[in-house]
Assembly symmetry: C2
Homo-oligomer: 154 residues x 2
Amino acid sequence: MHDEQHKLDFESSLGPWLGKTTKIMDYYLHEALQKQGLDLTKEQMIVLKKLHDNDGLNQNELAFLTFRDKSSLARLLSKMERKDYILRKQSAEDKRNNEVFLTPEGREVFKRTKPVMKSLMRTMEKDITSEEKKRVIEILKRVQHNFTAETATL
Amino acid sequence: MHDEQHKLDFESSLGPWLGKTTKIMDYYLHEALQKQGLDLTKEQMIVLKKLHDNDGLNQNELAFLTFRDKSSLARLLSKMERKDYILRKQSAEDKRNNEVFLTPEGREVFKRTKPVMKSLMRTMEKDITSEEKKRVIEILKRVQHNFTAETATL
DNA sequence: TAACATTAGTTGCATGTGCAACTAATCAAT
DNA sequence: ATTGATTAGTTGCACATGCAACTAATGTTA
């Protein structure tokens, strides 16, 4: 009885459900990328996306935008540079900064990931109305805000 | 115009919102555990939870329940064994199986994580009604089902 | 029973992650 | 201008992850 109650507490929390759903999504996302022969991880795809939206960002900005440690981002970029998806260019104004640019190969790969993502999103949202999506996203925004507001307090 | 439309497509998808929210949650979860001096990762906590619910599971079952590769789980267990949170006991009936048990230390640590999790969940769900939570969870269940049903088809 | 297949677990390899310590460049202040 | 603080990026370390190849034990079948 006691145990059941406690289990229910956990199960009725958003946290575990978010975690598990994301894990499953990541798994099928990875599978979809592999299946299309795209030599790319989810994380690298996110970086490509940010550069696609705003080419020439420096590593610091990219780390912030992708919510990553700068060291983690640096290593992501190294792998992407080896694959010729991006290139680092030291800024002339401030030699500490590396501006990061998409290469034509990077653009091409990102272009090829778009339909894969579209298809994956279609699958995952199959029976979910646009009203429901909007409501979920609105709540997720509030959750994010609750965390970031919490820190501001500390 | 074109770009904006495409950007909106991405932003109105559940995927990126789930991913980002989970990333933020994991970050604060990790921070909360550290702050309480709990020598434990989120992943190790999940394993403790499953063992708390069902002690003596073997590694295969644990891997399935936690949605992990068996190799990943094996390494998690090795670290948890070093910290004396769990112990492996070779099954007498089938010597291939390792039954995994919580140690008293493991039980104690899990007990101490519970209030941390409770507090974190309270923070993240601060302004979210129980009705909203239920609706979100129901939709996440459908998302999960959409993925797993998809695979069954392949 | 001997040969083959399956199963549980481990290990090598490559990926991604954050923290802390480091270098190099720039900024600030005396 | 020299000294000290800050900033961008890199690297060492420890952790988590999946796949593929491996071992050991069990099951199956001829």
